[in-house]
């Protein structure tokens, strides 16, 4: 792992507050994940890949935007690892970069329909933009 990757890894661990070493590789997070089918990397892989410093594929993956933040993996993990917080930290690493916004304000009007609640907009902006 080069220094740059190591720094990214350490930063992700720090801002998420997650200690990936606590993982015992049981796979309950992935078992419980409602976004499994839509994800290229699954919750247990996020934990293992961050621990191993294998970050680049995660930064480039669509999986970052499929996590529903439903916290099922957080609640059901027997070791208190909190994978969703790790996914969020990786996503922020991407979004906080210049030009890293997933959702651009200009795109929003096209996404609206008559019934869409304000909550959907603000939540999406929180998740997909800085």
């Amino acid at each position: 792992m080069n220094d740059k990757l190591k720094n990214t890894r350490d930063e992700i661990v720090r801002i998420s507050g997650v200690n990936p070493k606590k993982c015992m590789k049981c796979g309950k997070c992935t078992a419980t994940c409602p976004a499994f089918d839509e994800m290229e990397y699954h919750p247990h892989q996020f934990v293992a890949m961050v621990e191993n410093g294998d970050i680049q594929p995660l930064l480039e993956s669509e999986s970052l935007y499929r996590c529903l933040s439903c916290f099922a993996c957080v609640d059901r993990c027997p070791r208190g690892v909190e994978p969703a917080k790790l996914v969020e930290a990786v996503r922020l690493t991407v979004i906080r970069k210049k030009g890293g916004n997933r959702l651009k304000t200009d795109d929003i009007p096209a996404l609206l329909d008559e019934n869409i609640p304000q909550q959907a907009l603000v939540s999406a902006l929180r998740k997909y933009a800085k």
Binding site: L68, K85, L92, Q118, S123
Partner: protein, 262 residues
């Protein structure tokens, strides 16, 4: 009894029924919801990263406002409640975070405000017996599916509302109103949430699971406290009404009138 009330953006727009009936029903049950002055949007989701401060300041200001009035802080929107409760928990338990927040705000907030969801207010401050007593139009055994979603229950270590895997709080209220709760396994699974803005098809599948599961359980209506859940479920539920729990409450307490929400 008076409590501080954080309605949230959506309740002022697309989810007026959630807000209006929350107030009306609370009055019937002896509680006045006092809207916090100049509240700001909670942001919809709680960012779990510990270094994210700015997005949590509005919650802290609301919590501080309630503290100054020596009141508990109630919200009825699941998302607002989740964000405010998680922020309050971080203020109590993450001193580094709390210090940074307090450097931004003009007043130091210590995490001491008690945060209630409207449901918890009904259970813990009103009581099921009082609700039963005030019912004028009982639901007459109507089968109702309570939809919790994620935000009310998880993360359980912070939310502490109920057993996150087998909750009873909404079911108890349905029973108090004379209805029959439908226990179905998707009641605490995600509806697809905000991903509807990024990948509507994925979100649709998640909502469909919930609606089908509730229908299989024989429900004639689904109730929720979350505008985004309602939006997602509505799209999958042409033949089963999804209503806010405050609407159902208002119906049973006899304070629902047509045109209220306009």
């Amino acid at each position: 009894m008076k409590v501080s009330y954080f309605p949230g953006c959506t309740l002022k727009n697309k989810a007026k029924q959630l807000d209006i009936y929350a107030r009306k029903c609370a009055e019937v049950l002896g509680i006045t919801l006092e809207e916090i002055e100049a509240w700001q949007c909670c942001g919809g989701v709680f960012t779990t990263s510990r270094d994210e401060v700015a997005t949590k300041l509005s919650s802290v200001r609301a919590l501080q406002a309630a503290k100054e009035k020596e009141q508990v802080l109630v919200s009825v929107c699941s998302a607002c409640h989740n964000v405010i409760k998680q922020t309050n928990h971080a203020m109590q338990n993450d001193t580094e975070f709390a210090d940074r927040v307090n450097r931004y705000n003009d007043v130091e907030y210590d995490g001491s405000t008690k945060v209630y969801h409207y449901l918890e207010m009904l259970r813990d401050l009103v009581g099921m017996d009082k609700i039963k007593e005030k019912v004028v139009n009982p639901l007459n055994g109507e089968k109702i599916a309570a939809y919790y979603g994620c935000l009310l229950l998880r993360p359980n270590s912070v939310m502490q509302m109920d057993d996150p895997e087998n909750p009873t709080i909404i079911e108890d209220i349905i029973k108090a109103l004379g209805g029959v709760p439908v226990i179905y396994p998707y009641r605490n699974e995600c509806c697809g949430g905000y991903v509807t803005m990024d990948d509507p098809e994925f979100s649709r599948k998640k909502s469909e699971n919930v609606v089908v599961s509730a229908k299989n359980g024989g429900a004639s209506r689904i109730i929720t406290a979350c505008p985004l859940c309602k939006y997602n479920l509505d799209k999958q539920a042409p033949d089963i009404p999804v209503v806010y729990l405050t609407e159902l409450l208002a119906e049973a307490l006899g304070v629902k009138e047509d045109g209220d929400e306009r």
